[in-house]
């Protein structure tokens, strides 16, 4: 009897798997994850220390803003854009100099890359994450004078407050270029210029094609957000200024 039961069990196992199975019915739906579902305590307890460390770090006060700064508080330049371009240039300069023995001439970023304003009051680590949520990293592209002119043409045509530093542009009332200077000097035809920017823009983001084929490219392995955090730590109150670097007369 025991033998027969064993054989039967084997038969059921083999026979069931052998009988060709096919889908007879499919049901499909989505389930919303909301507060009607109880929290799994084991998962929650596991997350807690990770969350706590982030929150402590995010809430650290690094610096101070004397007024609200946002990306539409000027027409062709903005306080937050000037801050970003200036700090990316100044934070990158020592790294670039150490590696190449050259100085950075210009910084260009994109207006769209500023994702949040900086509010008057304490600046926290969180501020840097809000303004710059992307992982964009800093690169320095060495451009020919021709490509620097390409950059100026791009800015003049765009008439948008793309953050710039080291470069001043004057337009007349008909949007025609009056003057473009790099660190106060006219652009020299046979010179190359070191332009610090983000990897995103250098790779063709926002159609900044003048950055695409540089004479040389230095990858700093330094995220823009980290440059912001490092910079905030060094200043007591961040500057909020419009200084006429890109103006229409």
């Amino acid at each position: 009897m025991r033998k027969i039961i064993a054989l039967l069990a084997i038969f059921i196992a083999i026979s069931c798997s052998k009988e060709k199975q096919s889908v007879s019915k499919i049901e499909g739906k989505r389930i919303n994850i909301n507060d009607s579902i109880t929290t799994n305590q084991e998962i929650e307890d596991f997350i807690k220390p990770f969350r706590k460390r982030i929150q402590e770090d995010m809430n650290k006060v690094l610096s101070y803003a004397s007024k609200d700064m946002h990306k539409n508080d000027g027409k062709l330049e903005t306080t937050i854009g000037n801050l970003m371009a200036d700090l990316v240039k100044s934070q990158s300069e020592p790294i670039y100099k150490k590696r190449t023995e050259k100085s950075i001439d210009i910084c260009i970023l994109n207006h769209g890359g500023i994702r949040a304003p900086i509010q008057a009051g304490p600046i926290k680590t969180r501020t840097a994450f809000n303004v710059m949520p992307f992982e964009n990293s800093i690169v320095v592209a060495e451009l020919t004078a021709e490509n620097v002119h390409g950059m100026i043409d791009y800015l003049v045509k765009a008439k948008r407050a793309h953050p710039i530093s080291g470069l001043t542009i004057k337009l007349d009332q008909n949007d025609k270029l009056v003057e473009a200077l790099v660190n106060g000097k006219p652009i020299e035809a046979n010179k190359t210029y070191a332009v610090v920017t983000s990897d995103y823009l250098q790779n063709g983001g926002d159609r900044m094609d003048f950055l695409k084929n540089p004479e040389s490219l230095e990858i700093l392995d330094y995220k823009i957000r980290n440059a912001m955090i490092d910079y905030f730590k060094t200043v007591d109150t961040i500057p909020a200024k419009l200084d006429g670097r890109f103006i229409q007369q």
Binding site: S22, I31, I33, F46
Partner: protein
């Protein structure tokens, strides 16, 4: 083979006779109850905590700890459940910036994810740091159209994986989106992107004809549909251009489908395409019920969405 069948059958009939109570009818009915549940997420983007109460679109929604409860309840209801993710696990909250994907993978392992595919944002810290996070994942990754031969991921990501659940053979292959123009080359390095639709045609043949899978699932991160760029490979194009795929689980386009789409494949058969938006706000659930093939041929197949 025939003779063996016969012997087993004759033995069985005598056994049935001996045991009396167990009838052939009940045996057939029993085998008809096979039921496989597929649960899936996509584009969770490091959203570990629920959205706050003031979030404009998804207030009080999402959260890994709630997702874990839902999943374990469904697993209790049906142990023959597979939990899948269609990529872009990484990037979107400081959890990723601070821990590089460690927590995402550890939580997914605790939730007992079975398989995932790789999204473009999973390369955000570079392929080397993605590789470095793999020990935190107790589940595997599949991608059939990314060729990782000349990268650190070589042999760590397989084109497909086969699961056996209650005697049902389930083949799942992965597909990734074109990386050039989307991800910095310095991040994905020597990863080679192959055409996802041609790859899927190959994969479905291998899984259906060679591996003889009962269910074929595509875990895709190529995007649901590109209305303004209809030539671009998408899940809907993929569904129409292939055969023998039962389910396409999508990602990348953050498409919040209220219910799965039913599309016709190249043989005119139905294929389900699903995608549950992003950020862990939804979990997709697809239930497959099985019956003997002859019964399905006789009674047809029903799809309820």
């Amino acid at each position: 083979m025939k003779r063996r069948d016969f012997i087993q059958n004759s033995l069985a009939s005598s056994a049935f006779v001996t045991l009396g109570g167990l009838s052939l009818q009940s045996f057939t009915a029993n085998s008809a109850k096979k039921h496989i549940t597929i649960l899936h997420t996509n584009d969770v983007h490091s959203h570990i905590d629920p959205f706050g109460a003031n979030h404009p679109r998804n207030p009080n929604q999402g959260g890994a700890a709630r997702r874990a409860s839902l999943i374990s309840n469904i697993r209790k209801e049906n142990p023959n459940t597979l939990l899948l993710d269609a990529g872009d696990i990484f990037q979107g909250t400081p959890y990723f910036n601070y821990y590089g994907g460690e927590l995402e993978f550890k939580l997914m392992s605790m939730m007992k994810y079975d398989l995932a595919t790789i999204g473009n944002h999973d390369f955000d810290n570079g392929i080397d740091r993605l590789y470095a996070q793999l020990p935190n994942a107790n589940f595997e990754f599949v991608s059939a159209n990314y060729d990782f031969k000349n990268t650190v991921l070589d042999t760590h990501v397989k084109p497909y994986k086969i699961f056996m659940k209650d005697g049902i053979k389930i083949g799942i292959f992965g597909l990734g989106v074109k990386l050039a123009g989307l991800v910095d080359k310095r991040m994905y390095k020597e990863t080679v992107y192959n055409d996802p639709i041609e790859t899927a045609q190959d994969m479905s043949r291998i899984l259906k004809e060679e591996e003889k899978c009962d269910l074929v699932i595509c875990l895709s991160h190529i995007g649901y549909n590109y209305k303004r760029n209809p030539e671009r490979p998408s899940d809907l194009k993929l569904a129409r251009a292939t055969k023998d795929i039962d389910l396409i689980i999508g990602g990348h386009t953050h498409t919040f489908l209220p219910k799965p789409t039913i599309e016709k494949n190249s043989k005119g058969e139905s294929v389900l395409v699903n995608q549950v938006g992003a950020y862990g706000v939804y979990v997709g659930r697809i239930d497959f019920y099985f019956d003997a093939e002859k019964n399905v041929i006789a009674n047809g197949k029903s799809i309820i969405v």
